[in-house]
Protein backbone atom coordinates (compact mmCIF):
# COMPACT_ATOMS: atom_id res chain seq x y z
CA UNK A 1 0.00 0.00 0.00
CA UNK A 2 1.19 3.52 -0.78
CA UNK A 3 2.25 5.38 2.36
CA UNK A 4 1.80 9.14 2.06
CA UNK A 5 4.07 11.61 3.82
CA UNK A 6 2.22 14.91 3.72
CA UNK A 7 5.35 16.93 4.45
CA UNK A 8 7.41 15.28 1.71
CA UNK A 9 6.75 17.87 -1.01
CA UNK A 10 7.55 20.64 1.44
CA UNK A 11 10.87 18.95 2.30
CA UNK A 12 11.71 18.64 -1.40
CA UNK A 13 10.85 22.29 -1.97
CA UNK A 14 12.70 23.53 1.09
CA UNK A 15 15.95 24.24 -0.70
CA UNK A 16 15.15 23.73 -4.36
CA UNK A 17 12.44 24.50 -6.87
CA UNK A 18 10.02 21.69 -7.61
CA UNK A 19 6.95 22.24 -9.75
CA UNK A 20 5.13 19.40 -11.45
CA UNK A 21 1.51 20.43 -11.01
CA UNK A 22 1.24 21.26 -14.73
CA UNK A 23 2.15 17.69 -15.78
CA UNK A 24 -0.66 16.22 -17.89
CA UNK A 25 0.81 12.71 -17.75
CA UNK A 26 1.08 12.55 -21.57
CA UNK A 27 4.28 10.48 -21.57
CA UNK A 28 6.28 12.60 -24.04
CA UNK A 29 9.13 12.72 -21.51
CA UNK A 30 9.30 8.94 -21.25
CA UNK A 31 9.08 8.45 -25.01
CA UNK A 32 11.88 10.90 -25.72
CA UNK A 33 14.33 9.89 -22.98
CA UNK A 34 17.65 8.65 -24.45
CA UNK A 35 17.84 6.22 -21.56
CA UNK A 36 14.68 4.44 -22.69
CA UNK A 37 12.04 3.35 -20.23
CA UNK A 38 14.08 3.26 -17.01
CA UNK A 39 13.25 6.76 -16.00
CA UNK A 40 9.67 8.03 -15.94
CA UNK A 41 9.64 11.67 -14.89
CA UNK A 42 5.85 11.79 -14.92
CA UNK A 43 5.55 8.78 -12.59
CA UNK A 44 8.27 10.08 -10.34
CA UNK A 45 6.69 13.50 -10.08
CA UNK A 46 3.29 11.96 -9.30
CA UNK A 47 4.89 10.09 -6.40
CA UNK A 48 6.30 13.36 -5.09
CA UNK A 49 2.95 15.15 -5.35
CA UNK A 50 1.25 12.24 -3.59
CA UNK A 51 3.82 12.29 -0.79
CA UNK A 52 5.03 8.77 -1.66
CA UNK A 53 8.54 9.29 -0.28
CA UNK A 54 9.43 5.61 -0.21
CA UNK A 55 8.47 5.13 -3.85
CA UNK A 56 10.64 8.10 -4.79
CA UNK A 57 13.59 6.77 -2.83
CA UNK A 58 13.22 3.37 -4.49
CA UNK A 59 14.02 5.29 -7.68
CA UNK A 60 17.21 6.90 -6.33
CA UNK A 61 19.32 5.20 -8.97
CA UNK A 62 16.97 6.42 -11.74
CA UNK A 63 16.96 9.94 -10.31
CA UNK A 64 20.74 10.08 -10.47
CA UNK A 65 20.73 8.38 -13.90
CA UNK A 66 18.99 11.31 -15.58
CA UNK A 67 21.31 12.89 -18.13
CA UNK A 68 19.79 16.36 -17.57
CA UNK A 69 19.93 16.60 -21.37
CA UNK A 70 16.59 18.47 -21.45
CA UNK A 71 15.24 16.47 -24.40
CA UNK A 72 12.05 15.82 -22.39
CA UNK A 73 11.72 19.35 -21.02
CA UNK A 74 12.29 21.02 -24.36
CA UNK A 75 9.43 18.97 -25.82
CA UNK A 76 7.08 18.95 -22.83
CA UNK A 77 3.64 20.28 -23.95
CA UNK A 78 2.91 21.44 -20.39
CA UNK A 79 6.25 23.25 -19.89
CA UNK A 80 7.10 21.29 -16.75
CA UNK A 81 10.61 22.23 -15.55
CA UNK A 82 11.64 18.57 -15.58
CA UNK A 83 15.39 19.06 -15.21
CA UNK A 84 15.03 21.44 -12.28
CA UNK A 85 12.62 18.97 -10.66
CA UNK A 86 15.12 16.15 -11.03
CA UNK A 87 17.83 18.37 -9.55
CA UNK A 88 15.48 19.19 -6.67
CA UNK A 89 15.00 15.48 -5.96
CA UNK A 90 18.76 14.91 -6.07
CA UNK A 91 19.17 17.81 -3.69
CA UNK A 92 16.57 16.30 -1.35
CA UNK A 93 18.31 12.90 -1.36
CA UNK A 94 21.70 14.54 -0.77
CA UNK A 95 20.19 16.33 2.25
CA UNK A 96 17.81 13.88 3.83
CA UNK A 97 19.21 10.51 2.83
CA UNK A 98 22.92 10.85 2.05
CA UNK A 99 23.44 13.74 4.51
CA UNK A 100 26.03 15.27 2.20
CA UNK A 101 24.69 18.79 2.63
CA UNK A 102 22.77 20.56 5.39
CA UNK A 103 19.07 19.87 5.70
Amino acid sequence: MLKADVKFVERVKKRAEFNATACINCGSCTALCPLGIDLHPRTLFRYVLLGAREMVLENTSNIFSCLLCKMCEDNCPADVPIVENIRALRNYINRDVFRLIRG
Partner: protein, 321 residues
Protein backbone atom coordinates in the same frame (compact mmCIF):
# COMPACT_ATOMS: atom_id res chain seq x y z
CA UNK B 1 26.92 -3.95 -6.95
CA UNK B 2 26.50 -0.61 -8.73
CA UNK B 3 28.82 2.21 -7.76
CA UNK B 4 27.73 3.67 -4.41
CA UNK B 5 26.19 7.03 -5.39
CA UNK B 6 26.55 8.42 -1.88
CA UNK B 7 30.30 7.80 -1.66
CA UNK B 8 31.12 8.95 -5.19
CA UNK B 9 29.20 12.18 -4.63
CA UNK B 10 30.88 12.52 -1.25
CA UNK B 11 34.31 12.36 -2.90
CA UNK B 12 33.29 15.01 -5.49
CA UNK B 13 31.90 17.22 -2.76
CA UNK B 14 35.00 16.86 -0.54
CA UNK B 15 37.27 17.55 -3.52
CA UNK B 16 35.42 20.69 -4.56
CA UNK B 17 35.32 21.99 -1.00
CA UNK B 18 38.94 21.38 -0.17
CA UNK B 19 40.76 21.14 -3.51
CA UNK B 20 38.50 23.40 -5.60
CA UNK B 21 37.90 20.81 -8.32
CA UNK B 22 35.98 17.50 -8.54
CA UNK B 23 39.00 15.73 -10.04
CA UNK B 24 41.88 17.94 -8.91
CA UNK B 25 44.67 18.33 -11.41
CA UNK B 26 48.27 18.44 -10.31
CA UNK B 27 49.93 21.81 -10.15
CA UNK B 28 50.96 23.14 -13.55
CA UNK B 29 48.51 21.03 -15.59
CA UNK B 30 45.78 23.66 -15.56
CA UNK B 31 47.71 26.30 -17.49
CA UNK B 32 50.32 24.15 -19.29
CA UNK B 33 48.41 24.63 -22.54
CA UNK B 34 49.11 28.38 -22.53
CA UNK B 35 52.89 28.03 -22.29
CA UNK B 36 54.65 30.12 -24.92
CA UNK B 37 51.49 31.79 -26.24
CA UNK B 38 52.20 35.15 -24.61
CA UNK B 39 48.66 35.60 -23.38
CA UNK B 40 48.72 38.43 -20.83
CA UNK B 41 47.62 37.73 -17.27
CA UNK B 42 44.11 38.95 -16.40
CA UNK B 43 42.50 42.01 -17.98
CA UNK B 44 38.88 43.02 -18.44
CA UNK B 45 38.28 40.24 -20.96
CA UNK B 46 39.58 36.77 -20.15
CA UNK B 47 39.50 33.37 -21.77
CA UNK B 48 38.06 31.06 -19.14
CA UNK B 49 38.64 27.35 -19.74
CA UNK B 50 36.91 26.23 -16.53
CA UNK B 51 39.60 23.50 -16.68
CA UNK B 52 37.26 21.33 -18.75
CA UNK B 53 39.55 20.44 -21.66
CA UNK B 54 42.46 19.90 -19.26
CA UNK B 55 40.33 17.61 -17.09
CA UNK B 56 39.12 15.26 -19.82
CA UNK B 57 42.17 12.93 -19.90
CA UNK B 58 41.94 12.50 -16.10
CA UNK B 59 38.16 11.97 -16.35
CA UNK B 60 38.77 9.41 -19.11
CA UNK B 61 41.10 7.28 -17.05
CA UNK B 62 38.90 7.71 -13.99
CA UNK B 63 35.85 6.57 -16.00
CA UNK B 64 37.73 3.54 -17.33
CA UNK B 65 38.56 2.59 -13.75
CA UNK B 66 35.00 3.24 -12.54
CA UNK B 67 33.72 0.99 -15.35
CA UNK B 68 35.94 -1.80 -14.00
CA UNK B 69 34.76 -1.18 -10.43
CA UNK B 70 31.06 -1.08 -11.38
CA UNK B 71 29.33 -4.29 -10.27
CA UNK B 72 32.48 -5.59 -8.58
CA UNK B 73 33.23 -6.27 -4.88
CA UNK B 74 35.44 -3.15 -4.75
CA UNK B 75 32.32 -0.96 -4.55
CA UNK B 76 31.98 -2.05 -0.88
CA UNK B 77 35.15 -0.18 -0.06
CA UNK B 78 34.27 3.19 -1.58
CA UNK B 79 33.41 4.50 1.90
CA UNK B 80 37.00 3.83 2.99
CA UNK B 81 38.17 5.48 -0.23
CA UNK B 82 36.23 8.59 0.70
CA UNK B 83 37.87 8.76 4.13
CA UNK B 84 41.33 8.27 2.60
CA UNK B 85 40.57 10.93 -0.02
CA UNK B 86 40.13 13.50 2.73
CA UNK B 87 43.74 12.91 3.72
CA UNK B 88 45.31 12.42 0.32
CA UNK B 89 43.82 13.05 -3.12
CA UNK B 90 43.06 9.52 -4.35
CA UNK B 91 42.13 10.71 -7.83
CA UNK B 92 45.84 11.31 -8.49
CA UNK B 93 46.47 7.61 -7.90
CA UNK B 94 43.37 6.52 -9.79
CA UNK B 95 43.73 8.66 -12.83
CA UNK B 96 47.03 7.94 -14.51
CA UNK B 97 46.81 10.26 -17.48
CA UNK B 98 47.97 9.46 -21.00
CA UNK B 99 50.47 12.16 -21.96
CA UNK B 100 49.49 12.10 -25.65
CA UNK B 101 45.87 12.50 -24.74
CA UNK B 102 46.67 15.46 -22.46
CA UNK B 103 48.72 17.08 -25.23
CA UNK B 104 45.81 16.72 -27.67
CA UNK B 105 43.28 18.35 -25.33
CA UNK B 106 45.79 21.09 -24.53
CA UNK B 107 46.24 21.68 -28.26
CA UNK B 108 42.48 22.29 -28.59
CA UNK B 109 42.79 25.18 -26.14
CA UNK B 110 45.76 26.49 -28.10
CA UNK B 111 43.62 26.30 -31.24
CA UNK B 112 40.88 28.32 -29.56
CA UNK B 113 43.38 30.96 -28.42
CA UNK B 114 44.83 31.12 -31.95
CA UNK B 115 41.37 31.50 -33.49
CA UNK B 116 40.45 34.34 -31.14
CA UNK B 117 43.74 36.12 -31.85
CA UNK B 118 43.22 35.71 -35.60
CA UNK B 119 39.74 37.19 -35.21
CA UNK B 120 41.30 40.22 -33.53
CA UNK B 121 39.88 39.52 -30.07
CA UNK B 122 42.01 40.83 -27.22
CA UNK B 123 41.94 38.70 -24.12
CA UNK B 124 43.90 37.67 -21.06
CA UNK B 125 43.99 34.51 -18.98
CA UNK B 126 44.09 33.90 -15.25
CA UNK B 127 46.60 31.02 -15.49
CA UNK B 128 46.98 29.16 -12.14
CA UNK B 129 44.27 31.33 -10.54
CA UNK B 130 41.59 29.97 -12.82
CA UNK B 131 39.15 27.61 -11.08
CA UNK B 132 36.82 24.85 -12.24
CA UNK B 133 33.22 26.10 -12.64
CA UNK B 134 31.58 23.42 -10.45
CA UNK B 135 29.26 22.16 -13.22
CA UNK B 136 29.23 18.50 -12.15
CA UNK B 137 28.45 19.30 -8.52
CA UNK B 138 25.56 21.52 -9.65
CA UNK B 139 24.16 18.73 -11.82
CA UNK B 140 24.16 16.19 -9.01
CA UNK B 141 22.23 18.56 -6.74
CA UNK B 142 24.91 19.37 -4.17
CA UNK B 143 23.65 22.94 -4.17
CA UNK B 144 25.30 24.23 -0.99
CA UNK B 145 28.73 23.02 -2.05
CA UNK B 146 28.20 24.39 -5.55
CA UNK B 147 26.96 27.76 -4.38
CA UNK B 148 29.95 28.26 -2.09
CA UNK B 149 32.31 27.32 -4.93
CA UNK B 150 30.56 29.50 -7.53
CA UNK B 151 30.96 32.51 -5.24
CA UNK B 152 34.66 31.70 -4.91
CA UNK B 153 35.03 31.56 -8.72
CA UNK B 154 33.20 34.87 -9.08
CA UNK B 155 35.41 36.45 -6.39
CA UNK B 156 38.55 35.46 -8.33
CA UNK B 157 37.15 37.19 -11.45
CA UNK B 158 36.21 40.32 -9.52
CA UNK B 159 39.51 40.53 -7.64
CA UNK B 160 41.29 40.47 -10.98
CA UNK B 161 39.13 43.16 -12.56
CA UNK B 162 37.43 40.83 -15.06
CA UNK B 163 34.28 42.13 -16.77
CA UNK B 164 33.88 39.84 -19.77
CA UNK B 165 34.46 36.11 -19.98
CA UNK B 166 35.03 34.00 -23.07
CA UNK B 167 34.15 30.36 -22.44
CA UNK B 168 35.29 27.35 -24.42
CA UNK B 169 32.89 24.51 -23.60
CA UNK B 170 29.11 24.24 -23.19
CA UNK B 171 29.03 23.25 -19.51
CA UNK B 172 31.16 26.16 -18.34
CA UNK B 173 29.24 28.51 -20.64
CA UNK B 174 25.96 27.37 -19.10
CA UNK B 175 27.26 27.82 -15.55
CA UNK B 176 28.48 31.36 -16.10
CA UNK B 177 25.69 32.51 -18.40
CA UNK B 178 22.61 30.93 -16.86
CA UNK B 179 23.32 29.38 -13.45
CA UNK B 180 25.68 31.78 -11.61
CA UNK B 181 23.39 34.79 -12.18
CA UNK B 182 20.62 32.96 -10.28
CA UNK B 183 22.69 32.31 -7.18
CA UNK B 184 25.14 35.23 -6.93
CA UNK B 185 23.77 38.60 -5.89
CA UNK B 186 24.88 41.42 -8.17
CA UNK B 187 26.46 39.06 -10.69
CA UNK B 188 27.55 41.18 -13.64
CA UNK B 189 29.97 39.19 -15.79
CA UNK B 190 29.22 39.15 -19.49
CA UNK B 191 29.81 35.64 -20.78
CA UNK B 192 30.02 34.40 -24.35
CA UNK B 193 31.20 31.19 -25.90
CA UNK B 194 34.18 31.55 -28.26
CA UNK B 195 31.99 30.04 -30.99
CA UNK B 196 29.48 32.88 -30.68
CA UNK B 197 32.29 35.43 -30.82
CA UNK B 198 33.98 33.86 -33.84
CA UNK B 199 30.70 33.46 -35.73
CA UNK B 200 30.00 37.17 -35.25
CA UNK B 201 33.41 38.20 -36.54
CA UNK B 202 32.82 36.76 -40.01
CA UNK B 203 36.42 35.59 -40.25
CA UNK B 204 38.12 35.03 -43.57
CA UNK B 205 38.95 31.44 -44.39
CA UNK B 206 42.64 30.95 -45.27
CA UNK B 207 42.36 27.34 -46.36
CA UNK B 208 39.28 25.56 -47.69
CA UNK B 209 38.67 22.45 -45.60
CA UNK B 210 37.08 20.27 -48.32
CA UNK B 211 35.68 17.97 -45.65
CA UNK B 212 32.38 16.22 -45.15
CA UNK B 213 31.61 16.29 -41.45
CA UNK B 214 28.81 14.90 -39.32
CA UNK B 215 27.88 17.36 -36.58
CA UNK B 216 27.12 16.06 -33.11
CA UNK B 217 25.48 18.97 -31.29
CA UNK B 218 25.88 19.44 -27.56
CA UNK B 219 22.67 19.18 -25.49
CA UNK B 220 23.83 22.04 -23.29
CA UNK B 221 24.76 24.42 -26.12
CA UNK B 222 21.57 23.76 -28.08
CA UNK B 223 18.83 23.29 -25.50
CA UNK B 224 20.20 25.35 -22.63
CA UNK B 225 21.99 28.16 -24.46
CA UNK B 226 20.42 28.19 -27.93
CA UNK B 227 23.80 27.86 -29.66
CA UNK B 228 23.00 25.80 -32.75
CA UNK B 229 23.88 27.68 -35.94
CA UNK B 230 27.20 29.25 -34.91
CA UNK B 231 29.33 26.10 -35.17
CA UNK B 232 27.72 25.13 -38.50
CA UNK B 233 28.20 28.64 -39.94
CA UNK B 234 31.88 28.64 -39.02
CA UNK B 235 32.53 25.20 -40.48
CA UNK B 236 30.57 25.89 -43.67
CA UNK B 237 32.33 29.20 -44.23
CA UNK B 238 35.62 27.30 -44.02
CA UNK B 239 34.48 24.99 -46.80
CA UNK B 240 33.18 22.00 -44.86
CA UNK B 241 29.99 20.21 -45.86
CA UNK B 242 27.92 19.47 -42.77
CA UNK B 243 25.68 16.45 -42.41
CA UNK B 244 23.40 16.02 -39.44
CA UNK B 245 21.64 12.96 -38.04
CA UNK B 246 17.88 13.03 -37.59
CA UNK B 247 18.33 13.93 -33.93
CA UNK B 248 20.30 17.15 -34.12
CA UNK B 249 20.09 20.83 -33.24
CA UNK B 250 17.55 21.35 -30.44
CA UNK B 251 16.63 17.68 -30.78
CA UNK B 252 20.19 16.43 -30.42
CA UNK B 253 20.77 13.10 -28.69
CA UNK B 254 22.92 13.12 -25.56
CA UNK B 255 26.41 11.55 -25.68
CA UNK B 256 25.92 9.89 -22.29
CA UNK B 257 28.76 11.94 -20.75
CA UNK B 258 26.87 13.16 -17.68
CA UNK B 259 26.58 9.57 -16.43
CA UNK B 260 30.17 8.49 -16.77
CA UNK B 261 31.12 8.99 -13.13
CA UNK B 262 28.13 7.27 -11.51
CA UNK B 263 26.87 4.83 -14.15
CA UNK B 264 29.66 4.13 -16.65
CA UNK B 265 27.72 1.20 -18.14
CA UNK B 266 24.64 3.32 -18.89
CA UNK B 267 26.84 6.15 -20.19
CA UNK B 268 28.40 3.72 -22.63
CA UNK B 269 24.98 2.44 -23.80
CA UNK B 270 23.76 5.98 -24.54
CA UNK B 271 27.01 6.81 -26.34
CA UNK B 272 26.78 3.60 -28.40
CA UNK B 273 23.25 4.57 -29.52
CA UNK B 274 24.52 7.97 -30.58
CA UNK B 275 27.56 6.57 -32.37
CA UNK B 276 25.27 4.39 -34.50
CA UNK B 277 23.14 7.43 -35.43
CA UNK B 278 26.24 9.44 -36.33
CA UNK B 279 27.88 6.60 -38.27
CA UNK B 280 24.78 6.40 -40.50
CA UNK B 281 25.66 9.89 -41.77
CA UNK B 282 29.43 9.57 -42.22
CA UNK B 283 32.76 8.63 -40.70
CA UNK B 284 34.13 12.06 -39.68
CA UNK B 285 32.37 13.43 -36.62
CA UNK B 286 32.78 16.94 -35.24
CA UNK B 287 31.93 17.72 -31.61
CA UNK B 288 31.57 21.06 -29.80
CA UNK B 289 32.19 19.78 -26.28
CA UNK B 290 35.20 17.93 -24.80
CA UNK B 291 32.93 15.65 -22.73
CA UNK B 292 30.95 14.64 -25.84
CA UNK B 293 34.18 14.01 -27.70
CA UNK B 294 35.63 11.81 -24.97
CA UNK B 295 32.49 9.77 -24.48
CA UNK B 296 31.77 9.24 -28.17
CA UNK B 297 35.39 8.31 -28.86
CA UNK B 298 35.28 5.65 -26.16
CA UNK B 299 32.07 4.21 -27.60
CA UNK B 300 33.22 4.39 -31.23
CA UNK B 301 36.41 2.52 -30.37
CA UNK B 302 38.37 3.90 -33.35
CA UNK B 303 35.66 3.09 -35.91
CA UNK B 304 35.00 6.80 -36.51
CA UNK B 305 37.22 9.85 -36.69
CA UNK B 306 35.97 12.17 -33.97
CA UNK B 307 37.46 15.64 -33.69
CA UNK B 308 36.79 18.77 -31.71
CA UNK B 309 35.49 21.70 -33.76
CA UNK B 310 38.58 23.75 -32.87
CA UNK B 311 40.79 21.19 -34.63
CA UNK B 312 38.98 21.92 -37.92
CA UNK B 313 38.50 25.65 -37.45
CA UNK B 314 42.18 26.27 -36.77
CA UNK B 315 43.02 24.66 -40.12
CA UNK B 316 40.45 26.76 -41.96
CA UNK B 317 41.05 30.15 -40.36
CA UNK B 318 44.60 30.31 -38.98
CA UNK B 319 47.93 30.36 -40.77
CA UNK B 320 49.42 27.15 -39.39
CA UNK B 321 53.24 26.93 -39.24
Amino acid sequence: MPLPIHDVLGIFSDNLRTRKCVVPLSLGKVDAWAKGLDIPFGGETVLYTGQMYQLVPAINSMSAMMAKFENSWITRFFGIGRVLNRISNISWFMSGVDGKEQARYNSMLRNIAALLKTAGVEFGYLYGKELYSGALVYDVGLDDVFSEHAKRVYRVFKENGVKRVITVDPHTTNMLKSVYPKIIDGYDLITRSYLEILAEKEMKCVKQLHLELVAHDSCVYTRQEGIVDEPRRLLRAAGAVIHVPELSGRLTHCCGGPLESLFPGKAHEVARKRVVQLADCGKSIVTMCPICMANLRRAANNTLEIKDISEHLVNGYCEVD
